[in-house]
C-alpha cells in the first residue's frame, strides 16, 4: 500500500521496491517467531506456509503454538487452515474493493474491526510479567514512534518491546536469586 503514492509520483522501480521492503520488515519478525515451530518441515511446506504469512495469520496462530496447545503434525495443518482462509478472504475483499470501493460507505466505522481483532489476539500473548513488560514498552514506544515514515515506528516499537521483555526477565531472575 505504501507503493501506491510512490508509483503515482513516478518513483523508480528500485525506490518503490526498497520502500516496500522497509514497510514489510515486520514480516521477518513473524518469520523468526514462527520458525522454531516449522523447523522440521520440508522445503515445500516452508515455502507454502511462508507465502501465506500475514499479520492476521501470525496473530491467530502464534499464541497457541507458543503455549504448546498444538503439536506436529497438526501445527502445519492448523496454520494452513487459518492462513489460507485469510488469504482467500483478503483476495476476495481486494476484488470487492476494486469494483465496489467508490460505492461502499464508511458510516458504521467498520474499519474499527481491524484494531479490535488485533486487541483480541494481543491480549492472550500477555501471559506473565515479562511478556507484560514487553507489551508495555512496545506500546509506549509505539505511541511516540508511530509518526516515523515507512512503518519504521512499528518495527522500532516491536524491537524495544522485545528488549523490554528481556530486561524484565533478567531483573526478575536477579530478584528471585
Amino acid at each position: 500500500m505504501a507503493a501506491v503514492p510512490l508509483l503515482s509520483a513516478g518513483a523508480s522501480v528500485a525506490i518503490v521496491v526498497l520502500a516496500v521492503l522497509i514497510v514489510n520488515l515486520r514480516l521477518t519478525l513473524y518469520s523468526a517467531s514462527l520458525a522454531p515451530h516449522f523447523k522440521r518441515l520440508p522445503v515445500g511446506w516452508k515455502g507454502l506456509l511462508s507465502y501465506l504469512l500475514t499479520d492476521q495469520a501470525y496473530a491467530a496462530t502464534i499464541t497457541r503454538f507458543d503455549a504448546g496447545e498444538t503439536e506436529e503434525p497438526d501445527k502445519r495443518w492448523y496454520y494452513l487452515g487459518v492462513a489460507l482462509a485469510i488469504w482467500v478472504a483478503f483476495q476476495a475483499a481486494t476484488l470487492a474493493g476494486v469494483f465496489l470501493g467508490a460505492w461502499a460507505s464508511g458510516g458504521w466505522s467498520l474499519d474499527f474491526v481491524l484494531p479490535l481483532i488485533f486487541i483480541a489476539l494481543a491480549i492472550p500473548a500477555i501471559k506473565d510479567r515479562t511478556t507484560g513488560a514487553a507489551a508495555l514498552t512496545a506500546g509506549m514506544t509505539a505511541v511516540f514512534a508511530a509518526a516515523l515514515p515507512l512503518n519504521l515506528g512499528l518495527i522500532a516499537a516491536a524491537l524495544v518491546g522485545v528488549f523490554g521483555g528481556l530486561v524484565a526477565e533478567s531483573v526478575i531472575e536477579k530478584v528471585q536469586r
Binding site: 520488515l25 518441515l41 488485533f118
Partner: protein, 110 residues
C-alpha cells in the same frame, strides 16, 4: 510509467516480501538459533502485536490524540478489558463496536 516498469515493480515488491516471510522459516533447521535469540523470540508476539494495535488507537487522521474525545482509544480500552476477561475474539469485536457506537452517539448529542 510504462506497463513494463509497472509489472517489474509489482514483481520486485512481491519477491522482496516473500523473501522477508521466508527468511527465518527457511533458515531454521539448517542452522541452530543462538540461546539469546531464542529467549528474545518469546517476547515477539506480545511486543509486535501491541506495536500494531497502539497506533490504530492513539492516532486519528495521522495525528496523536490522547484525550477523552478519542472514541477509538476508549472503545479499544473497553475491548482490551473484554478480551482479557472472555478470551473471545467475537465478544471483543462485538463489545468493542458497541462501545464505539455508544461513544459516537454520546459525542454527537453533546
Amino acid at each position: 510509467m510504462s506497463p513494463l516498469t509497472l509489472w517489474l515493480t509489482i514483481a520486485g515488491a512481491g519477491a522482496v516480501t516473500f523473501a522477508l516471510r521466508l527468511s527465518f522459516i527457511a533458515l531454521l533447521g539448517r542452522i541452530e538459533i543462538p540461546p539469546f535469540l531464542g529467549r528474545a523470540l518469546r517476547f515477539v508476539p506480545a511486543a509486535v502485536l501491541t506495536a500494531v494495535v497502539i497506533p490504530l488507537l492513539f492516532y486519528e487522521n495521522g495525528a496523536l490524540d490522547v484525550w477523552l474525545g478519542n472514541e477509538r482509544l476508549l472503545a479499544g480500552l473497553a475491548a482490551a478489558l473484554i478480551a482479557w476477561r472472555t478470551r473471545s475474539v467475537l465478544f471483543t469485536i462485538g463489545g468493542g463496536m458497541a462501545a464505539l457506537w455508544t461513544l459516537q452517539a454520546i459525542g454527537l448529542s453533546l
